[in-house]
Amino acid sequence: MTDHGHDHDHDRTVKPMVDEITDFEVLEIALRELCIEKGIFTAEEHRRFTEFAEQIGPTPAAHLVAKAWLDPEFKKLALAEPMTASKEVGVDWMEPTGFGTPSDFTAFQILANTPTVHNVIVCALCSCYPRPILGNSPEWYRTPNYRRRLVRWPRQVLAEFGLYLPDEISVHVQDSNQKHRFMVMPLRPEGTQDWTEAQLVEIITRDCLIGVALPKAGVTTNVITDTRPAVHPGTAG
């Protein structure tokens, strides 16, 4: 039997929620129901893809890099056979969803940074991204602003994320496509010599794996960037 004479505040025990049905929530349901009724896909297919979208994130990729930092043999494997190395962190690129391969996942490569080369990934055409191992792409990765400008002015765009690279480090921009996905393996930062895999994973953020940030002891969050609207070349003054 619960005694309500205790002193905790019930208003603070439940997280607030939006107590209003929004048009966008209704629209998402409407599109889904109509597509299912028209036979474009089944409710079961939608459920499985949604579960896939729910469970993916950058954790497997962070573990892969941490393992490579700790074990030179695993690093060799990761660079030579990235699909095999991915399996060791729980990602099967040939069956990423566990229920058949979505059309856009076929080849995967890991780009290792060196003291003189920094890698960064983009999809200039649309927003191809190594989703099975890195989760859903951040909003800015999808914007024409990032996609168009990174290819032309990589240092300027990286500086917008707070990453200033000296001239002696060359920047390699790797363009992804529907058949070929990439992720970056950054260099292990100083001050992490005795760290465990779990500690290292904390600082290998999504941004480091895209290449717009470098891992640093004590930094465990991604950069927050304002999404800039792209200026259409045809309308630019």
Partner: protein
């Protein structure tokens, strides 16, 4: 009503049902601030991701946009007609626009469905 093929062509299709949604502006940043919710994205986002993946998988059907067409149209519409919407609202409304402009979903049918779903959710 069909505007498949050219991502820019879909912009010229007028869809009243979507205009009304944009006008009412129940976007997540506003809703989250109003109710003190901290989630960065709305609760329907992963279902939308599932919807897009399921569509991409099914795109061999006539006029259903494939992955690239869907994203091109989303980019074109998000930069023009729906530039006032944040992400992922612009992704959702652009997708709805593409499906109506391509004739996959009829606008009158969409309006009826929006009304019946709202009635169901508010029952």
């Amino acid at each position: 009503m069909s505007a498949a093929g050219d991502p820019g062509a879909t912009e010229h299709v007028d869809i009243d049902a979507l205009k009304q949604i944009v006008h009412r502006d129940q976007t997540w940043p506003r809703m989250a601030a109003k109710y003190g919710v901290e989630n960065p994205v709305p609760p329907w986002k992963t279902s939308l991701d599932g919807l897009c993946d399921a569509l991409d998988q099914a795109s061999c059907d006539a006029n259903v946009p494939n992955f690239k067409e869907r994203r091109d149209e989303e980019d074109a519409l998000s930069a023009t007609l729906y530039s006032g919407l944040p992400y992922p609202e612009n992704q959702l409304v652009s997708l709805a626009h593409s499906l109506v402009a391509r004739g996959i979903i009829d606008e009158a049918e969409l309006k009826r469905r929006l009304a019946s779903i709202r009635e169901r959710l508010e029952a």
